[in-house]
Symmetry: C2
Subunit: 222 residues, 2 copies
């Protein structure tokens, strides 16, 4: 009889593919909004522009708890708000990055993550040439400082861009300091306790998908 889900406790796992498509819709809608030409948009239109079949758009939006109006479509501003809320982008999450090499520097310098709810506050490295300097507008601190700063600031997300041999060691430091989610750009399979989430960003894997597809396309036979 209770009308809301407060106590139903239905754990609805969100499909990862949906989660990965939401930022795509978001970006598209933002652009649309900035152009300021349309107030309402249909799933069909979104699908056409994004190469996604309309029914999937509807499903994804449903999961993001967005509602539209039959015949009219979805309100662009409302949709943007829904996605932001669903993904928790209204309150940006702070993160630390460890390993200010090339890739780490690229990530430090890329401010676009802020739009997706992530704010990289600072970098950490042990290289004397980097410590104390700014990279991409972010200060680089010695790794020694990581535990105390993480605790003090209540940081929960760590980005790991150190060379492979140090990956596990640095991850341990992160976890000990209270970090609960690690975005892992190394090739190392991290051992972490069950209450820590690891997202393994495997560029090699993507590369494999691409090059295999190309190979199949270029020489489908033999």
């Amino acid at each position: 009889m209770r009308e809301d889900k407060r106590d139903t406790q239905v754990i609805k796992p969100i499909p990862e593919p949906t989660l990965r498509r939401l930022p795509v819709y978001y970006q598209y809608l933002k652009k649309l909004h900035n152009e300021g030409k349309v107030d309402f948009i249909s799933a069909t239109q979104i699908g056409n522009d994004l190469n996604i079949i309309p029914i999937q758009v509807r499903k994804d939006l449903e999961i993001a708890e967005a509602t539209g109006k039959p015949k009219l479509g979805y309100s662009v501003t409302n949709l943007i708000k829904c996605i932001e809320e669903f993904l928790g982008w209204n309150n940006v999450t702070d993160a630390f990055l460890v390993g200010a090499g090339n890739l780490g520097s690229a990530l430090l310098g890329y401010n676009g993550f802020k739009e997706y709810g992530l704010n990289i506050i600072a970098g950490f490295d042990n290289d004397e040439n980097k410590v104390g300097k700014e990279i991409g507008g972010k200060m680089v601190f010695p790794i020694d400082k990581l535990p105390e700063m993480t605790r003090r600031m209540g940081i929960k997300i760590g980005i790991l861009t150190v060379p492979a041999p140090y990956a596990q060691e640095v991850a341990n430091i992160m976890i000990k300091a209270g970090i609960r989610a690690i975005w892992n750009f190394t090739h190392v399979k991290l051992n972490v306790p069950p209450n820590v989430i690891v997202q393994h960003e495997n560029l090699a894997a993507s590369l494999v998908v691409l090059s295999k597809r190309l190979r199949v396309m270029l020489k489908p036979d033999e």
Copy 2:
């Protein structure tokens, strides 16, 4: 009656998840091989070490056309060879990278791709401060040179790391020059003819998955 598949023409689409796991096995096996302690390994053992259930390991290896010996397991060297062959890593594919910013530089400097069948030969950029210099041991050329060099060298893979506003334009240049596969690191949905493959590397999407999971974990309710 014919015993091989030469004329059966069964187009067996390879599951992308499998394709993404193969490099993981590969790396693991390589390490194992270098340690030189074991000649044969079972799917169970691989699964244990990699946090993948054994049956999935077996299935993946089956797809990669590897065979083992009951009771004994799979030959490590043979497995490595099978994966290399299946993914076409025996002949490294050459690639050009356009856009030598932070991310582009990181990729140029990262030589690990060579192990996965990709060899980034050179970078291209329009920034005078970069053209003519080396980044990560790779020469950076002006974009003007891209078409001729691509044609002359028969390059088929292009890596796109330019700022978003130039993405489509540069992609067009690539395609016109004969590139058939684009590894797209920009946020732009590229329009390409059907005979060109685009692999969209969406870091924001990964980030969304991570941060949503963290959010669910930290406050499962409300």
